[in-house]
């Protein structure tokens, strides 16, 4: 069984936001508006965190794409009362929308605040309804949702390989954000495969993970600033 992981090269990331757009349309994420954004209720499975450092004229802006980290020891799945969130095949942390009771315990337990709640029924203009991705279920109101590493793409890749009577090639499965990155700053693959670029990069000296001291073992690595 693979152990899917991601490497994001912060030196290559331009902060263009293509990953956010790709994720939103791939995963049927409801449209946000300024009102929702101000209320802190817009949903972005993939987000770009920004932090400004220093004072004018010495200002530095750090940017950082942030999906769900699909921790190997996820604090969110531990607290779920109904196993609506769980660590499944490939080390992916999944979410079962039809089972979730909306208690939001997982959202408060996640130290990375990557989990989102559907405060309302998601909204799209009628023109957009026809373009929803049929592979991803539309969430009802009142459940928790989060980045799935485009789990449905893995399913499709497996089925395609089966229909062609071959083994699945590793690069058959790539999440939408990684696929769409114009700067090729993101890599995705099996962290248990020593040959894969993701594994090599995750062991580089520049590699680091967020809040590593918590012991959650996130499977998203950041390559920090190079020499």
């Amino acid at each position: 069984m693979p152990r899917w992981g991601m490497v994001i090269d912060l030196d290559k990331c331009t902060g263009c936001g293509a990953c956010i757009i790709a994720c939103n349309s791939e995963n049927n994420i409801g449209l946000s508006d300024p009102q929702l954004f101000r209320e802190g209720r817009s949903i972005r499975w993939m987000d770009i965190l920004t932090i400004e450092e220093g004072e004018y004229p010495d200002v530095k802006k750090k940017i950082m794409p942030r999906p769900c980290f699909h921790c190997d020891k996820p604090p969110c799945t531990k607290v779920c009362p109904v196993r609506a969130t769980y660590k499944g095949d490939g080390g992916l942390v999944g979410q079962i929308y039809p089972r979730c009771i909306g208690c939001r315990y997982c959202t408060t337990a996640c130290p990375y605040t990557v989990r989102y709640f559907d405060w309302y029924v998601p909204y799209w203009p009628s023109e957009m309804m026809a373009t929803l991705n049929p592979d991803v279920s539309v969430r009802p109101k009142g459940v928790v949702e989060k980045c799935s590493f485009c789990h449905h793409r893995w399913q499709k890749a497996k089925e395609l390989a089966r229909s062609e009577n071959r083994d699945m090639r590793e690069d058959d499965y790539v999440p939408a954000c990684v696929e769409s990155c114009p700067g090729k700053a993101m890599y995705f693959g099996d962290l248990d495969n020593p040959q894969h670029r993701v594994t090599v990069l995750s062991k580089s000296r520049r590699a680091s993970r967020l809040l590593e001291d918590l012991g959650t073992e996130p499977k998203v690595y950041y390559l920090l600033k190079g020499e």
């Binding site: 209320e39 802190g40 209720r41 965190l49 920004t50 932090i51 942030r66 604090p75 531990k78 607290v79 779920c80 009362p81 109904v82 196993r83 609506a84 089972r99 979730c100 009771i101 909306g102 208690c103 939001r104 315990y105 959202t107 408060t108 337990a109 130290p111 990375y112 605040t113 989102y116 709640f117 559907d118 405060w119 309302y120 029924v121 009802p140 109101k141 009142g142 459940v143 928790v144 967020l210 809040l211 918590l214």
Partner: protein, 454 residues
């Protein structure tokens, strides 16, 4: 008592305790009407939440929990008054308990329903209410909560019901209506007051008094575990268990004092609930005030000295940041006001004690709020910062909770005596003799008994 003959109302000095059951005044209808209106309003507010979703609250990301969970912790805390205090007083054989144990136990049972309802109001999918039973996983602290609260509710209901049986039988004997007689007959479980029945009753009360104390302590510990089991800043604390229990008893005593004052006024019970009851309870409240200060001090000094940045972010938010008004009002209402009033003999009047209790109740609500919201508003990663102030829907639900609790209490007083009649009668007959026997049994020099080497 066993040899009690059937009497008509007015002959017995304790009939004043049965009066609210047999006579319904205008005050009762007005109170119930107002309370029902508030509860109905909360119901309408909840309907809007059902229709539009939890968006009608002001919860957001990252403040996923707000007023509903605050209310949950607060009301479960209030429930600690009753059963726990009544059980401790029974075990300690404190004679003055007789007039107040029943009113304390009612608080526990009624407020538990309100407290336990709050997580359901908070649920995004109330239609999946049964999922925790169908798919429940016991690794989740929420399941521990469900189990411990259900246990507590069962135990405290039994503990309220058993000592009520002789009183129910008394009402049965005095009732005239057919249905009324039937209902009370069923509830009285065939109580005739035989010596064997008395023996069983007393044995059961003694057992339940022991059982409910550890159950009560464990319940609020488990409530604190919901927070302490996560790694969030200032939640992941080992002192949370005892801190929550102490706070629960603290707010519970305050609620009991308020209830005593209200009952005394509403039902003219000045003869039963006297100054001594307020005096004794106020000393207990004073002790808890100091204990609360101790635990709060422990909690914050360890955070401050540890000085980890993520914890300090929450710490400064409470001390001087956006949540400082809540924090400092909490310090004043939980410590400064009750401590000043209760320390001073001049201000420790019944009015003063009630003011201190109201202040503690407000302060303890703020304490729960200060534990839950600032932590969520300041998560570990410095990118997501939230703010929170409840919406009208949340305020309506809170008003509904208070009104619902009072309503349940009022309805209870309509059907059952709020002071245990048989215990009062028994006290009159036996307690003086019992107490002097008890004193003789442990105080040397009263009787010419040879000293025993136990």
């Amino acid at each position: 008592m066993a040899d009690e003959k059937v009497k008509t109302i007015g002959e017995d000095p304790d009939d004043i305790l049965l009066e609210p059951i047999f006579k319904t005044g205008r005050g009762f209808y007005i109170t119930v009407g107002i309370l029902l209106a508030i509860v109905a309003w909360a119901g309408i507010a909840y309907m809007s939440q059902l229709i539009w979703g939890l968006g009608v609250t002001n919860l957001n990301r990252p403040v996923y929990w707000g007023m509903y969970i605050t209310n949950f912790v607060f009301f479960i805390g209030i429930s600690h008054a009753g059963t726990l205090i009544s059980a401790i007083l029974r075990i300690a054989k404190a004679e003055w308990r007789r007039a107040i144990t029943r009113s304390a136990e009612i608080i526990t049972v009624m407020v538990l329903f309100i407290g336990a309802a709050n997580p359901f109001v908070d649920m995004g999918r109330p239609d999946r209410l049964l999922n925790p039973i169908i798919y429940g996983r016991f690794q989740s602290p929420l399941l521990w909560d469900m189990v411990s609260i259900t246990t507590y509710l069962t135990a405290s209901t039994v503990y309220l019901y058993i000592p009520m049986i002789p009183d129910i039988a008394l009402i049965r004997d005095r009732s005239e209506g057919k249905i009324r007689k039937l209902v009370y007959s069923i509830l009285a479980l065939g109580w005739e007051g035989t010596p064997l029945q008395w023996k069983v009753l007393e044995r059961l009360i003694a057992i339940m008094a022991i059982v409910v104390i550890p159950v009560a302590v464990s319940v609020h510990t488990v409530v604190s575990y919901v927070f302490a089991m996560t790694v969030q800043p200032m939640w992941h604390s080992t002192v949370f268990g005892p801190y929550f229990v102490a706070g629960a008893i603290f707010s519970g005593i305050a609620a009991l004092i308020i209830a005593m004052a209200v009952l005394r006024k509403a039902f003219n019970l000045e003869n039963y609930i006297r100054r001594v009851h307020f005096e004794n309870m106020s000393l207990l409240l004073l002790v808890m005030t100091l204990l609360w200060f101790y635990f709060t001090f422990c909690e914050y000094i360890t955070t401050f000295y540890g000085a980890e940045p993520v914890h300090m972010a929450v710490f400064w938010e409470k001390f001087s940041g956006r949540f400082s008004p809540y924090f400092w009002v909490m310090c004043i209402t939980c410590f400064v006001i009750p401590f000043t009033i209760l320390c001073n003999k001049k201000t420790r009047t019944i009015t003063g004690i009630v003011i201190a209790s109201v202040s503690v109740t407000i302060g303890m609500w703020l304490e729960r709020f200060c534990i839950i919201v600032p932590t969520l508003a300041n998560p570990r990663l410095p990118y997501d910062r939230g703010n929170y102030f409840p919406s009208w829907v949340e305020f309506s639900e809170m008003a509904g909770c208070f009104a619902g609790f009072i309503l349940l209490y009022v309805l209870f007083t309509k059907f059952f005596p709020v002071i245990s009649i048989w215990e009062i009668k028994e006290g009159r007959k036996k307690s003086v003799q019992e107490v002097s026997e008890r004193v003789e049994s442990y105080l040397p020099g009263l009787k010419n008994e040879p000293e025993r080497a136990d």
